[in-house]
Each structure stands twice: as structure tokens, then as C-alpha cells.
Assembly symmetry: C2
Homo-oligomer: 503 residues x 2
Amino acid sequence: MSNTLLLNKYSYSTFKPAEPLTIHDINQQTVEAKYAVRGKIPIIAEGLQELIKMSPTNHGLPFNKIINANIGNPQQLDQKPLTWYRQVLSILQYPELLNEPNNFPNDVKERARNILKNVGSIGAYSHSQGAPYFRSSVAEFITKRDGFPSNAQDIFLTSGASTAVSYLLQLLSQDENSGFLIPIPQYPLYTASIALNDSKPVGYYLDESNKWSTNPNEIRQLLKTKAKEGINIKALVVINPGNPTGGVLTRKDMVELISICAEYGIVLIADEVYQENVFDGAFLSFKKVLSEMKKESPELYKDVQLASLHSTSKGVTGECGQRGGYMELVGFKPDVREIIFKLASINLCSVVSGQAMVELMINPPKKGDESYDTYISETNSIHDDLKERAEHLYNAFLEMEDVFVDKPQGAMYIFPKLDFKPEIYHKLFSRAKNSGLQIDDVYCIELLEHTGICCVPGNGFGQRPGTYHLRTTFLPPGKEWIVRWKEFHHSFVNKYKDMTLSL
Amino acid sequence: MSNTLLLNKYSYSTFKPAEPLTIHDINQQTVEAKYAVRGKIPIIAEGLQELIKMSPTNHGLPFNKIINANIGNPQQLDQKPLTWYRQVLSILQYPELLNEPNNFPNDVKERARNILKNVGSIGAYSHSQGAPYFRSSVAEFITKRDGFPSNAQDIFLTSGASTAVSYLLQLLSQDENSGFLIPIPQYPLYTASIALNDSKPVGYYLDESNKWSTNPNEIRQLLKTKAKEGINIKALVVINPGNPTGGVLTRKDMVELISICAEYGIVLIADEVYQENVFDGAFLSFKKVLSEMKKESPELYKDVQLASLHSTSKGVTGECGQRGGYMELVGFKPDVREIIFKLASINLCSVVSGQAMVELMINPPKKGDESYDTYISETNSIHDDLKERAEHLYNAFLEMEDVFVDKPQGAMYIFPKLDFKPEIYHKLFSRAKNSGLQIDDVYCIELLEHTGICCVPGNGFGQRPGTYHLRTTFLPPGKEWIVRWKEFHHSFVNKYKDMTLSL
């Protein structure tokens, strides 16, 4: 193209160009927020992966592949999507398939037709809260699941659960003294969102010695102490089944937590995205327990504000990349709910194929439908497979020296404690401190460098001072990686046992 | 289920339940943010639509259908998705289609195979910045479009362009004195995001008398004045082609704007989502103009920070509900770019089918490919159709009394001025003031109530004090609605002409 530019001669001749913005010129909350799940260890792993890709035969590493156990991303590993989901979604993308010869079951075509009739093209923006047809379907699902009514106008369809968390934390962060009760350990989305909104995280400890249960008295005590410090607690975050712990709350704990929210007028944010991943017994929702309590004592519980989150990313569904999710709001004042609607409007709408994914998850084929048998056999196989992988990895940790581990009850993770004997601990502590790291960082880095296994240090989730953990998914297929981990652990322990501490 | 709840007897017997949160207990920025595109007029329209649905035969309204001209949502109206996009996306959802008999062209299958091979399942989380394969493809597209290199590591795939705006404004809002230069009128996503981040909008006027061009001297003046007031301008937002104005910037204006950013070290946010919607001549990107300027005077322009946004929602693509988009960053310091990456990581990733949609938009079938002819005929037909609709609506406004309108050069909107004669103006002003409204609100409400046509008052976008506009898309099909609009306008003007002002 032309080199004769219409440069503005005035400015051209007189101005001195300015420097670009530095990290000190921007929003410091964005600088300070931390998100370990995609943080330093996964970034090193990515570099190693790149190295292997560029030099497949002479990369010099003792492994040929990164094992991504840092993130619950089933289809990145070997989990196959359910046929039912994908057949319906393919028709929604290309409705002509309804008129062409193919092998799609009748119930698949019928569901696709119904969605197209009621929602229209998935290429159009939907209502900002989600297409009414899908919201009604979610409300029916919740009604059936809990035995208590749910209303489509209380349902917000979101891009995974992350967007719901982002709306809620933005809404509730009134000023820098707004506080959020979060479990320690927690999923770091919460601390990151709290940091971005310049409000205060108030951690309550989960009890590792008692299956990661909550201690309501500690939470009540925190509410009192923090009030004296001028911190105005806005919400209690509960992750159930637990991430990263894999723990599942008892009904008694849930009742206690709801009572606290009733007494203090704080919002209960129930992150229930792992509701499909409960290994023993059935999932019990906060909505159900709250509804029972309301029925028994309406005067006490009628005003409890509950936001319950679900997602298509986890469970046997595992459709992370489709970004489907929903939030049910209960007990919010209508004008406050309107503000959440406005936040959703500013983003226009969540992806409509993801909204459809939610519908397919919560309204699967029924007995007698053509897809039913395949659906059941595929979901059972995924469920059994996850359970088996969880047990296998759990057993491996049981055998490792200086590791304390709880049997996973749900979710997709194990969060073992690295409980090194003093002789090892002191040397590791000193080694870590010299590098500006913590003991769990050192363990995870060495694990990655020796085996290619990428997991996340416990400090990314929060842990009691002086304790060290790591979070690993049990999703990677096969047993070979677990054998390598055991071997690594053995050498790691011995290396530090034998090491002479040079101070 | 059991009615014997494990209610905590201690709390049960002693606590007094608290009230739920009111609108005064939450983040006031979320209360104050405004978003007119889905604001009061569209909400009234939704109510009317509901009424028609509930009582199709006796709703008592003078129309049977809402015409949604308030939002650029082509597939909500009658625009068909391009076959090419949807065939590939259907295979990505259900790869088994590659092994089944069907009528898909070979290039469709080949593209799908390539994506599946390089990206894997679209049900897995991708890299937070977007799958590397898609980012490389976007970089190639930009390189070809502009004749200057683009790099995959500078590309962020986002959920439409809205998410990119949200990252940038969050990043750049250092404190309450951070300011953003935004055009008046503007797309209200910008004022909403600025309000949410508690920073300051600094409006610069577009010149309606000169095809909505920018006045660089006014912008320079604003930078000086605002600096004295302690406002630290962080970015200059430019929407080109313009929303809501439909204007297209000249190269000379673009050079001026880039020079301003170079001199003041502020980020140029170039919202170029309507780049496919230019009616005459070719689209000229800020990246291209900046690259030419850098080539000519590297010492002046090497540090200019540009964020250019694109989306799959607009243009002939029109796939709003698929939530595809990208942002290219140029000239940002690497550690600042890392913070944007962290913000993207906290959201995990944008929907992967939307990322694929971007790839299909920027890398369409080539001459000789089996899909090429269909693709060309479909895109030409949409393009011609949009141009025809734009002209038809433009001509209608030309004929309306007291309306001043510019010929649309691009985008999907017309932004006519309601330029009422004093005799009408005064009565309208008084009528509006009595209801706490503005003149353009009154016009849009009456238009909606009489015709079912939903558009957005100019005050939702910003306009010079004392002027009144409205924004309408020209997307609705047919001419009947335009005839009704003309009739309505005629009666509206006459009604206020004839009205006796009661003071």
C-alpha cells in the first residue's frame, strides 16, 4: 500500500512519544489476584510440553508426555462425550440433518426439534438470563430432584459456574470492608474473584481429621470477630462436594450452615458443581435442606438467600469446553435480583449451545426412549471408571511414606497431605525457603520434572499454616503414571533423608 | 423425606432471623451501571410480547408481533446461518458424522478433521487464551488482511467482543481517577463497564454534521483539561465502523487518533466488530494504519498500545449466540499482557465451539473448494440484503418530517436525529419532563405501543445535550414495518402539533 501517509504534521513534528503502561499503571487488584490451577506449575508444564513437541526424540526429559492432573478436564484426557449430548447438539448446529438420511435415534431428533421450535437458532442471542424454555426445564429438574418447587424466573444460565461466581462476588462487594467466608482449602476462583473486587477473604478451616467437615462454631466465632474488625460479611461460600478436598457435607452440617446464614442475613453461595460426582449415596442439595427447614420453621428461614451453582463441566458430563452452567437464586429481593440480571445483560447472553447442553444434562433420555440404553451404559461406564481411578490413586497414596490421605467421597480430586518427618521436613523447608518457595511447591516441581505429572501445590488452595498438600485429579487414564509417581515419591523421600543440610 | 430435621437446637432457640440484603447493601457500581440496549424499552417490549403470547386473539394491542430493532441479532429475525459454518460445527459436536453417510462436502469434512486433530474435543477446556491452532489461524488472517505480521501469542479468543472489553476495562481501571475516552454516542457496554469498574467516562463528541467523524483537537483538549482535574486517561475507545452511528472513519482520522495515543501513552481500544459491514470500499484496520506509521516513523509509533476487537456476532456471520470473538494486542508490555492472560485463566477459557466459529469466519472456503460457491452465494445474498434494508430504512427516514439522518456507511444501525420544530419540541419536552423521561424516550415508547417496533432512545448511547436520537437496526425483514413506522411518525408529529400545551 501507499507509503505516503497522511501523518498529522503538527503532532508529527512536535510530540515526544510516551512509554507504554507498566504493571504499576494498572489496576493493582488484577496484579494481586492469584489463580493456581493455571498458575506457575502448569506454566512450567506447558513449557516442557512445548519442548517435547519441538524435539520429540532428543528433549532430554525422563518422560515423553505431560500428565495434566492439575485441572478437572476429562475430555482433555480420555473421557468420551456422551453420544446423546453430541447428537442433539450436532442437529442444533445444522438442522438440515433432520431432513437427511442418518442414524440418529428418534428421541434425539425429537429433542432437537423441540429445542429449535422453542428457542430458535442457537446463533441468535437468547434472553440474557437464558432462553425461557431451558430455564423452565432446569426449574423442573430441580423440582424433581428436591421435591420442592423451583421457578424459571429464578434460574440464570451462565458460562460454566465461573460466570455465576463472578456476578455474585461483584454484586456483593459493597466496599473494601465487604468480606466473604470461604473454606480453607478452597477453589482459587473464589480468592481470585474476591481480590479482583477488592474485598476481603475470610477463611474458615475444613477439618482434615474429620473428612474435611465444617465447624459451625468456628464460623460463628469468625462472624463475631470480623464484625469487631469492621468487616461486613456478605456471603458464606460452601463447595459441596468439595474442591479440592473431595469431601461431602453431612445434612447436620448443612443445617448448621443454613442457620448461620438465616441469623446473620448473609448469602449462602452453594457451589454444587460436583453434584453428579458422589460415590456413595445420593447428592443432597442445599435447596432441599433449606426447603425442609422453611417448611418446618418458616419464620426463621423464609428469608435465607441461597445461590446454588451447577455446571456441565464436571460429573459424568465433563463438557468443560461447552461452557454450560446455571445458578438458582432463592430468597433474594427482586430489585437485587434485577441487578444480577443487568450484569448478565451487559454480557448479552451465555453461549446458547452451552444452554442447550444444560438442558440435555438435566433432562436426559427416559426409559423406553431409543437413546436410553446407550445413555445408561455410557454414564455407568464413566461413573465406574472415575470411581475405580479414584480408588486406585487413593490406594497408591496410602502406600506412600509420609503421606496422609482421605478416601475421596466425591468430586474429581484427591488432596493428600505431605506429612514429612522432622528430619526431612527441615531440609525441605530450608531448600524451599532458599528458592522463595514452599515445601509443596518444591514437591510439585520435582514431581513434574521427574515424571511429567502436573498437579497443584496445596498453597494455591489455602491450607493450615505448617501443613502441605497437593491437589491431583484422578482423571488421567492407566496405572503407569501412578507407578511412576510412587517411584518418584520413594526417591524424593530418600533423597531428602540422605541429604546433608548445608546452612 | 424425613420431617425430623437435625436443626441445631442452640441456634434454633435463640436466634432472630436477619432481613435479606437490600439494594443499599450491595456494590453501588452494579446498581448505577446502565445498559440501554436491554434496558427499559426492551423490557416493556418483552411484557407486550408475553401478553400477545398469553392472549393471541384478544390482547387489545394494535399489532400482533414485536419487531426487535433494538439489538443487532440477525438470526432472531430471518437471517439464515451460513451452511459452511454449521456443517463444520455439527461434525465438531458429533465427529461420528465423519464415518456416516451424509451429504457434507469434502472441504467441510477436511476442515473438521483438521480442527479435531489439532484441538481435540470441543468439550475440553482449551488454553485460556484460546486453542493455539485457532490463534495461529487468526494471526494468519490478520497478516493477510493488513499486509503486516501478526503473532498468535498476541491473540486472545474471547466470548464475543464483550469479554475483551471487560478484561481491558478491568485491567486499566487503576483507581477512581482512571478515565476512558469514549465516543458520544457510544455502545453502552463501555459506559456500563466503566461504571462497574468505578472509573470515569470522558466523552468526546462525534460530529453528526460530518458523517459522525472524530475531532482530534477536541480529544487533545480533553486530555489536557482532564489532566488538570486529576483524571488519568488510560485508553481511547474507538468504534469503527460505528455503533450506533453507522459511520466509518477516514484514514486521516485514524492517523490522528493513533498519534494521540503515541503522544499520551494511552491504549487504543479499537472496537472493529463491524469490519465485515462496510458498504462502500474496503475495511481499513487500525492495526494496518499503525503498522504503516511504525514503518515510516518507528521512533514515534513503536510503543503504541493497540487492542483490536472482532466478533462472530456481526457482519454476514451474525452468529451472536455462538459467542465467538478475538482480541489482538499490540505494543503491550509482556508483564501487562500476562495480567490479561490471568483474567482469562480465571474464566478458564471461552467456549471452544465459539473459538471454532472464529476460525470458520476468518478462514472460509477458497476458490475450488467444494463449499465455495454456496458460501459465496450465501454471503453475497446476506450482504446485498443488508445493504438493501439499510437503504430502504434510510429512505423512509429521509421522508419523515423533522428527522435528520445520515446515510449508513457500515455496521447494522441507523441513528436518526429527531429534530422537532420548536412548536412540537416544547410540548414534547413538557410531556417528557412530567413523566421523568426524555423526548427520545417518549418517542420510542409511543412507537412501541402503536406499532410493536422496539428501538433504543439515543440517551442510552449519549448525545449532545438538547439533541434527541434513536437507534434502530435495519435487520427486520419486509417493508411493512417501515410503512407502519412512517404512519406512526406522521400521526405522532401531528398529535403534538395539534396538542394544546396545558401548563
